[in-house]
């Protein structure tokens, strides 16, 4: 198994801004006796797009959930805008500027699209994103506003989930496998929104299984294997093959 991890300091040096938005040091996450993550070093800078790549069960979702405070037992450090968020209530973390687009969309099926979106707005910070602004940016959403979320297609639901997170006016958007279960064409459409979101000043963490897409969309990446970072670096400077090795753990 090839484990090449850039030490945290050099990862920082590669960033445009040396004060990262989110820093994770020595993170370990446990569920009962099962260790989901070990020794994670991770950081995201303002307005950066960082990809987290890995196979199923590598710990990607656990990583995102631990940032918002919905994972098992944590030891280590997670700092957001200089403040430690480990142990903080999820509501507070979200209100301070982190929003999650959960794996599998996770809308409330019996609520309308607009009700789902409003919940995102109510639990987040107040900022430039309001319902009207969102509808202007994403006309497809406006067309769906009165539909019950359970009746939407996968792609539509994913858009609503992203919109819900955006309405929380986050500084950091965590996207957990937004391509899951969707056709490539729809995924392309979704990914077109990613740079537009970054252009609004929002940093994005993209969890992805598709290596190519992850590399082509992100500035930097981390590859997870069995709960550890097996590789990290600049996306534009790393080949797909190199990542594939770290992804599968082959030598």
């Amino acid at each position: 198994m090839m484990t090449q991890q850039l030490p945290a300091s050099s990862a920082l040096e590669q960033m445009p801004d040396s004060h990262p938005l989110l820093t994770i040091r020595s993170l370990g996450v446990f569920y009962d006796q099962f260790r989901a993550l070990s020794d994670i070093e991770f950081c995201v800078g303002a307005e950066e797009i960082v990809a987290v790549i890995g196979a199923n069960g590598a710990g990607k979702t656990t990583l995102l959930k631990s940032i918002v405070g919905q994972s098992g037992t944590i030891d280590g450090e997670i700092t957001f805008r200089g403040r430690n968020v480990v142990g903080q209530a999820t509501a507070r973390t979200i209100a301070s500027g982190i929003a999650l687009v959960p794996e599998g969309r996770r809308l409330f099926p019996s609520l309308t699209v607009e009700e789902n979106l409003n919940l995102g707005w109510e639990t987040g910070r107040k900022g430039e994103f309001t319902l009207d602004v969102l509808y202007a940016d994403f006309p497809a959403l406006a067309a769906l506003r009165t539909r019950r979320a359970g009746t939407l297609s996968g792609g539509q639901q994913q858009l609503v989930a992203i919109g819900r997170a955006l309405l929380a006016n986050p500084e950091l958007l965590l996207c957990d496998e937004i391509s899951l279960g969707l056709s490539p064409r729809i995924v392309d459409e979704l990914y077109e929104h990613v740079p537009r979101i970054r252009a609004r000043g929002i940093a994005i963490v993209l969890v992805e299984q598709d290596i190519s897409r992850a590399l082509s969309t992100s500035d930097r990446f981390y590859c997870l294997l069995e709960g550890r970072v097996s590789l990290s670096g600049r996306s534009s400077q790393t080949s797909r093959e190199t990542v594939a090795h770290a992804y599968f753990g082959s030598c």
Partner: protein, 290 residues
């Protein structure tokens, strides 16, 4: 002519009885729908509040409206505290613990009331309201209190409908009912929402307790029979359906009213038998889940 009038009166009394039963069932339906909890102590909580109202008006001599104003927030508080202090801790342990906890609570309330008030049956004095009736014909009596009960029941259902389906708070309630885990993921204060929902249940229990006490006698051990009525109503009407509560309650009221017409001791049995019949034929209830 006499026969038809008689039948109409029986039907009318059944519908009016349904109003009271709808009030019993409201709180149970709410807790089942949102918190996914069948509260075994539901009937006993109604009786507890009835005793509270009784105590404030009888030994303490307060006028009924004042007593109601005191008891309403009290009932909300009981529901809220019950959720936060007790039910919240067992909700995550599977489905047996919450059932057993509310079962224990039921027995505790019954015996606590027995100790405090003794085994005598009580009622809440309502003065002229309790006996006033409009005589529509020789055989048909429209009791003022039963009619008021039905009106209040419909008003409560309507208000709840508005609250749950057209308000921001209602959206939160439904979200938490859909998926508490997702709700937590996006930062909703799930425990607080549950607690508020149970507080709301407390308020509906207050309405039920008021009209129960005015219309009927009650004693410390009356709780289980109210629970059974509430339960039958929500199963008859379709679990999760607000207006179904009214339909189920009226059906139960009619069944009991008709049975009582043959023999007063058949009243309860008729209700149960109709319930079992519907359960056999159409287990999902009159209306499917909303």
């Amino acid at each position: 002519m006499l026969m038809v009038d008689q039948i109409l009166n029986v039907a009318l009394q059944g519908v009016l009885l349904g109003g009271l039963y709808a009030l019993f069932a409201l709180g149970l339906s709410l807790s089942v729908g949102v918190i996914k909890l069948v509260n075994i102590a539901h009937g006993d909580l109604i009786v507890l509040i009835s005793f509270a109202l009784f105590y404030l008006t009888q030994p303490l001599g307060l006028p009924l409206p004042a007593a109601i104003l005191i008891v309403l927030p009290l009932a909300f508080g009981i529901g809220y505290v019950l959720q936060v202090g007790l039910l919240q801790r067992v909700m995550t342990k599977g489905l047996l613990p919450p059932l057993l906890v509310t079962f224990g609570l039921s027995v505790i309330i019954q015996n606590g009331l027995l100790e405090t008030f003794g085994a005598d049956t009580r009622s809440i004095p309502g003065g002229a309201l309790q006996t006033a009736a409009i005589r529509l014909s020789d055989q048909i009596y429209l009791g003022v209190l039963p009619t008021l009960t039905l009106v209040v029941a419909v008003a409560c259902i309507y208000s709840l409908d508005l609250l749950i389906y057209r308000s921001r708070f209602g959206a939160r309630l439904r979200a938490v009912a859909d998926s508490p885990d997702t709700a937590r993921l996006i930062g909703l204060p799930v425990n607080r929402i549950y607690a508020t929902a149970l507080g709301l249940v407390g308020i509906t229990i207050c309405a039920a307790a008021l009209f129960l006490g005015l219309r009927m006698n009650f004693d410390p051990l009356s709780g289980p029979s109210r629970l059974i009525v509430a339960f039958e109503v929500i199963v008859l009407g379709g679990i999760g359906n607000l207006w179904g509560i009214l339909a189920g309650a009226v059906l139960l009221g009619l069944a009991q009213s008709i049975g009582a017409e043959f023999d007063i001791r058949l009243q309860l049995l008729s209700g149960h038998l109709v319930f079992l019949l519907v359960l056999l034929i159409r287990p999902e209830g009159i209306f499917k889940q909303a």
